[in-house]
């Protein structure tokens, strides 16, 4: 069993016990524990189940590389699944639940998958679930969804807040071990602005555990001194619990600070995402120990050798009473020594190397510990916990030589440098055959904006595994000024690459050798993939799911590559690695969102009349970043009833619309007319001063992108109205063409959208309202349809446009934004005796649809040209050129058989569903019913008392009177007749009075 030792533990405070719960069971730990240490101290080795076979899973590592020990952490609004216990600090009141099992961690029904494992090999999903086809949707997918997945999704909104911060530095050092401290000290003493970041809660990394001596003192003391020295320097910033998660273009680094994970609810942001621009990044990110591939290497109790000594030395936790160390290198002997120092039994060290010499093995032998040379593990015994190992010759096929009882297997297959940051932005790797590792190729670093190297590695991340070499490498990486720290340590003999144990293992053993613990990928799976023809490591990864779990293959990738290479009969560098992508370990979505949540997710744009609308019961509709009243509900009214009332009142009395959101772009200059002639399909240069003209704007690919009324304000200036959503986009479109194509044309543009409030006064009595306000002659003679005048209305400086989007007598009046509310209220007051009422965007839509006016975004979708909409009258035939003209001459654009705009009238008077498709005879190549049209706008017309719609129909205008079938929900078919799209006042007399 695993337990707390009575003495030791360099990171824990025995005077500060903390209580927590695991699967509801109360447990006790100490301040300074990770949850992994606390669980082991409570003899909780089994912490979860694997993804595919639901195999029992125990803690295997002690840090960020942990693939197995994932739990659901916290409760209610602070619940989060898939948290690694090895990187979670234990705090008072912590609650954790194990994952991926049913009904319980100890007795899991899904484990039956394990007995079926020989029927569930690599690529099983692809092979098995393909046929028969309907089974995918109704049988296979629901089954897979039920059984797959690790943690459960949180059910409540996140109670925490998150923030982002920016920082700039000459040098960012990722990793606060002795390499990172040395690099930071070296650069800081040379005057550089340094940010030093460490992902755990402690400085110093592995060195204090490994018992190194630096500059003549114990590593712990050296680390303490180095941290003190750095803290005293004004040009150094240091942060613990902060992981550099990724390195991106031009020295951009993201660092993920877990501010309050260990103090939930204390008011601080839970996570902080640092967005750092660095002159250079040094990855002092260390190395990760590799597992060995022997049968049963996934049984709880099989752990990485370095993790075992971390638990003993850092947290005074014994993972078991009786350990076996299995290794191919000298470093793992440190684990045997640490266990012996703690008074624990080491039954044997099993070394795959045929002959073991060297200082560390000598020390182990001196303690009376057996060292078995040239041996390997044939098989681990046990189910939910290791009970022993069967020993074999590494060179053989697994014949058992002896069995050793034990409850922990500490394994070491050598070390892999953590090259993630180096690789994220293009740094290349080379294969170091002596150390059997991919390490950074210093000659091919990631480069910055001037082509300079923007990253380096230091220490173990460079492949330097001996302390003296670590320090020298880190010192050099940071510029090499001053003296490098010195270290002495035992000489280590070379490691022996061991990818399968024993070397000649047959299929029975290989199908129990786990490569990827979380996703259940075994040696036999990778070999099967190779036999089935997978050669690329990237394809093999996806086919077998090797390295695709939440740990992203930190333990499994190199072993998997080696197995694949061997199966393909090629060297490991010929196989290559999969791509390293950020983040290094998962970061919270909360931190990526930062403070952009809720009300400040994006800016909210409000017109000057916003508060008035709000007070009058506006039912809001988001339009771009604006909020516009959809309708104004009176007490007892539904939204639909309000819309009907607003439409009828506008058609019979007066409606008032806040049109302030409409885009208003001033285009001015000697070449403004010529410019607008290029931008619009019609001619704007000939528009007389004081007149208005409807215009269509296309992109150069011919498609309609915006529409609106253009007003000639003066000899050299035009006011271009755009759609509400189009103002910024169209302004940018204008600037693009002005700056990049016609840069010698004398034109200025200004987006005045927010400078003016605009009110549409609409309806047969609109003129009476304006006359009551007084100050301008708004008669038919003085201000006819499609003209403009400037003056004073009721004391307000006003620009009055006689334009109509409803078919009614209509004036749109623009006043300075600061006077918008006052003018609106003046209109409401003056209109009271004429029955004036405000109307919202939905009434606007109904009014325009009754008139057959198009709406950008309804009738257009980026594939529609003006000719499709019957708007040929707004396209100049005389102009030599305009944006979109050449495109509209292409054969498929000029094809008469396009989907074109028509009106649609249901035979039963009902309202067609928006987007409904009109079906045609036959099926297409995919077996889908052919279509011949679709509904683009559809409303109930309270004036006509029936459903009206517009739609694009194949050859529509040539098929007036034909009836189309629109299948809708529940197998019903709605029939609608093709009609003219102008449903109301076909001759346009009402707007022209």
């Amino acid at each position: 069993m695993s337990a707390r030792l009575s003495r030791g533990g360099r990171l824990i405070d025995r005077r500060a016990p903390v209580t927590f719960r695991f699967d509801g069971k109360p447990m006790t730990g100490f301040a300074g524990d990770t949850l992994a240490a606390s669980l082991l101290a409570n003899d909780q080795m089994l912490v979860g189940r694997s993804f595919k076979y639901h195999r029992p899973r125990g803690i295997v590592a002690s840090g960020a590389e942990e693939p197995n020990a994932l739990v659901g952490l916290g409760q209610g609004p602070r619940f989060e699944p898939n948290q690694r216990v090895t990187t979670t600090e234990t705090f008072e009141g912590l609650t954790a639940i194990s994952q991926n099992h049913w009904p319980s961690l100890d007795y899991d029904i899904g484990a039956v998958n394990g007995y079926l494992s020989r029927f569930l090999p690599a690529g099983f999903y692809y092979k098995m679930f393909l046929w028969p086809r309907p089974f995918w949707k109704h049988v296979y997918e629901p089954f897979i969804r039920q059984s797959a997945g690790l943690g459960k999704v949180p059910q409540e909104a996140d109670a925490d807040r998150y923030e982002q911060a920016y920082a700039f530095a000459d040098l960012v050092v990722a990793g606060g071990g002795i390499a990172g401290l040395t690099a930071a000290l070296t650069a800081a003493r040379a005057g550089k602005r340094v940010i030093l970041l460490e992902q755990t809660a402690h400085w110093g990394g592995r060195a204090p555990v490994d018992g190194d001596e630096i500059d003549g003192m114990a590593a712990d003391l050296w680390v303490k001194n180095a941290v003190q020295a750095l803290e005293g320097m004004a040009n150094v910033t240091m942060r613990l619990r902060t992981m550099v998660s990724g390195l991106y273009d031009h020295g951009y680094a993201l660092a993920y600070e877990r501010v309050a994970d260990h103090t939930p609810g204390d008011g601080r942001p839970r996570h902080r995402l640092w967005r750092i621009r660095a002159g250079k990044v040094i990855a002092a990110t260390g190395a990760i120990e590799r597992p060995l591939s022997f049968a049963g290497n996934d049984i709880p109790g099989v752990m990485l050798a370095a993790a075992v000594r971390d638990f003993v030395v850092n947290w005074a936790v014994s993972p078991g009473d009786r350990s076996v160390v299995v290794t191919n290198n000298d470093d793992a002997y440190r684990t045997a020594l640490a266990l012996a120092d703690a008074g624990l039994v080491v039954a044997a060290v099993i070394d795959a190397r045929p002959s073991v010499t060297g200082d560390l093995p000598a020390q182990v032998r001196a303690r009376g510990i057996r060292v078995l040379e040239g041996r390997g593990i044939a098989k681990v015994k046990g189910a939910k916990r290791v009970t022993g190992v069967a020993i074999c010759a590494q060179q053989g096929e697994g014949a058992v030589l002896e069995e050793i009882a034990c409850d922990v297997v500490a394994m070491s297959g050598g070390w892999s440098p953590v090259v993630h940051l180096w690789s994220h932005c293009g740094g290349k790797l080379i294969w170091d055959a002596d150390a059997s590792m991919f390490r950074p190729d210093a000659a091919r670093p990631p480069t910055g904006d001037a082509g300079q190297p923007m990253a380096a590695t230091a220490g173990a991340a460079s492949g330097a595994l001996q302390t003296a070499a670590v320090l020298a490498d880190a010192h050099a990486a940071a510029g090499g000024e001053g003296l490098a720290p010195q270290a002495t340590g035992p000489a280590e003999a070379p490691m022996l690459p061991v990818w399968i144990m024993p070397q000649g293992a047959g299929i029975a053993l290989k199908s129990k050798m786990w490569l990827d613990y979380q996703n259940d990928v075994k040696v036999s799976d990778v070999q099967l993939a190779a036999r089935e023809g997978y050669e690329s490591v990237e394809h093999t990864k996806r086919y077998t799911t090797l390295g695709m779990a939440t740990d992203q293959g930190k333990l499994s990738n190199i072993n998997g590559l080696a197995v694949l290479s061997h199966a393909l009969h090629q060297e490991i560098p010929a196989t290559g690695t999969t791509t390293f992508r950020p983040p290094y370990t998962p970061i919270s979505l909360g931190s990526i969102g930062g403070e952009a949540r809720g009300e400040i997710f994006q800016p909210l744009r409000q017109t000057p009349m916003h508060d008035w609308h709000s007070a009058q019961g506006a039912y809001w509709e988001p339009v771009g970043q604006w909020r516009r009243p959809y309708c104004y509900k009176r007490s007892g009214e539904t939204a639909h009833e309000a819309v009907n009332r607003e439409v009828i009142n506008t058609r019979s009395n007066i409606g008032l619309l806040d049109a302030s959101t409409l885009g208003k772009i001033l285009v001015k200059g000697a070449d403004a007319g010529r410019f607008l002639d290029m931008l619009y399909t019609g001619v704007m240069s000939t528009l007389p001063v004081g007149k208005c003209r409807y215009g269509l704007m296309c992109n150069d690919n011919g498609f309609l992108i915006d529409d609106g009324v253009v007003v000639r304000m003066s000899e050299d200036s035009w006011l271009c109205h755009t759609t509400t959503g189009g103002a910024d986009r169209i302004h940018a479109h204008m600037e693009d063409w002005l700056q990049c194509e016609w840069w010698d044309w004398k034109v200025h543009t200004a987006n005045l959208t927010e400078q003016y409030a605009q009110v549409a006064i609409v309806g047969p009595k609109a003129r009476m309202l304006l006359e009551k306000l007084g100050g301008m002659d708004v008669s038919r003679e003085a201000l006819p349809f499609m003209t403009y005048a400037e003056g004073t209305l009721g004391g307000f400086r006003a620009r009055v446009f006689r334009i109509s989007f409803s078919g009614e007598l209509s004036y749109e009046v623009a006043v300075p934004a600061s006077e918008g509310l006052a003018f609106w209220e003046a209109c409401v007051a003056a209109g009271a005796e004429f029955g004036a009422m405000p109307y919202g965007t939905e009434a606007l839509h109904v009014l325009r649809a009754e008139k057959g006016f198009i709406m950008i975004g309804d009738e257009t979708d980026g594939t529609v040209i003006p000719q499709d909409l019957g708007l040929g009258w707004a396209i100049s035939k005389k102009k030599a050129d305009y944006l979109g003209k050449r495109a509209q001459e292409r054969s498929h654009m000029a094809d008469p058989n396009r989907w074109k705009l028509v009106g649609l009238e249901t035979l039963d008077g009902s309202v067609l569903p928006d987007g409904a498709l009109a079906v045609a005879e036959g099926v297409n190549a995919n077996g889908q019913q052919r279509t011949q049209g679709r509904v683009t706008s559809t409303y109930h017309s309270p004036v006509l008392k029936k459903g009206i719609a517009m739609g694009l129909v194949l050859n529509g205008p040539g098929r007036m009177g034909e009836v189309l079938d629109f299948p809708v929900d529940d197998g019903k078919v709605v029939q609608a007749r093709i009609v003219d799209q102008v449903f109301y006042d076909k001759d346009g007399e009402k707007q022209n009075v």
Binding site: D249, H250, C425, D449, G451, E735, C740, W743, R886
Partner: protein
């Protein structure tokens, strides 16, 4: 995220301040030009692994368009310059040649 120096306002701008505009130095084809010319103008974009000329707008800064010469493989920036030219200026060409010997314009 790239950093590019806006040649108009001199700010070393981060990518979040900028809007991309695709390939630079396109010649516009219009009425009277062949289908092939128009198609190439509209759709045929270079996608080199190496030196590329691009349009960028300092959208959340001074609002001006500018052009950048950049290596798409290493992200090295050879220079930025105002958009009001139809071909890369000589100093930009020289900067590219200095870093990429053997590179020819129009590649």
């Amino acid at each position: 995220m790239l950093t590019l120096t806006c040649p108009h306002c001199g700010i070393r701008a981060e990518e979040t301040e900028l809007s991309p505009g695709g390939e630079a130095h396109l010649k516009r084809y219009g009425p009277g030009d062949s289908d092939e010319q128009f198609e190439a103008y509209m759709f045929a974009r270079k996608n080199p692994k190496g030196v590329h000329f691009e349009r960028w707008r300092h959208a959340y800064g001074c609002g001006k368009w500018f052009l950048a010469a950049r290596c798409t493989a290493t992200l090295e920036v050879f220079g930025t310059y105002p958009a009001q030219v139809s071909a890369p200026p000589e100093p930009i060409i020289e900067a590219i040649r200095a870093r990429r010997p053997g590179w020819e314009a129009g590649q």
